[in-house]
């Protein structure tokens, strides 16, 4: 079974600075997707960024980028020019492409609470 680990329960950053959230996963599959979701205090989970395992290039969405190291099974999220609105719980998630996961089942990490200081 796949597992996802976020080893940082809490992180903080100054407004306009850069912060990196860590995520590692364990899988025997070679093809899969990885996601970062954001859950603000309003509670609705919002997709931040996604990465396909077969793509060498790291995904980027505006101020959000990932460092995907397939061999190390590492998928970290970098937030540049942090804003107050970035404060939230961030979840890393894994989607395999075999068995029940073909229906889109996700395995989540424990989450990292990000605080942004003005």
């Amino acid at each position: 079974a796949q597992t996802v680990t976020q080893s940082q329960p809490e992180m903080s950053v100054q407004e306009a600075e850069t912060v990196t959230l860590s995520c590692t996963y364990d899988t025997s599959e070679s093809d899969y997707y990885l996601f970062w979701y954001k859950q603000p205090p309003s509670r609705q989970m919002i997709l931040v960024i996604r990465q396909e395992a077969y793509k060498q290039q790291n995904a980027t969405e505006n101020r959000f980028s990932v460092n995907f190291q397939k061999a190390a099974k590492s998928f970290s999220l970098k937030i540049s020019d942090s804003q107050l609105g970035d404060a939230a719980m961030y979840f890393c998630a894994y989607r395999g492409l075999t068995g029940g996961t073909s229906y889109g089942k996700l395995t989540f990490g424990q989450g990292t609470i990000l605080t942004v200081h003005p």
Binding site: Q6, Q44, R50, Y103, F108
Partner: protein, 113 residues
């Protein structure tokens, strides 16, 4: 925009009650999911459904059941609520295509007294 609507944001029930949590999505997604969110544990999958009347157990199905009579609606049922089922419950929907994310509702914070 995809809209996933959960019937209640907050719910308080008593031990032994039968509890229904309802979820509706408006994007014709074939897959729907129920997760439970607890501090330090992230989100854990309770059940999911890939078609009307079809369901599969997730990682923590004990004490729960589900119903999907219509494509847009997925219900989570606590047959006899217990205090250890006090939690945040999140519903999600999505397509089966490999790169498609799940879309989430606002969550229901359920307290069992």
């Amino acid at each position: 925009d995809v809209k996933v609507t959960q019937s209640s944001r907050y719910l308080v029930k008593r031990t032994g009650e039968k509890v229904f949590l309802e979820c509706v999505q408006d994007m014709d997604h074939e897959n729907m999911f129920w997760y439970r969110q607890d501090p330090g544990l992230g989100l854990r999958l309770i059940y999911f459904s890939y078609d009307v009347k079809m369901k599969e157990k997730g990682d923590i199905p004990e004490g729960y059941s589900v119903s999907r009579e219509k494509k847009e609606r997925f219900s989570l049922i606590l047959e006899s609520a217990s205090t250890n089922q006090t939690s945040m419950y999140l519903c999600a929907s999505g397509l089966s295509a490999r790169n498609q994310p799940q879309h989430f509702g606002d969550g229901t914070r359920l307290s069992i007294l």
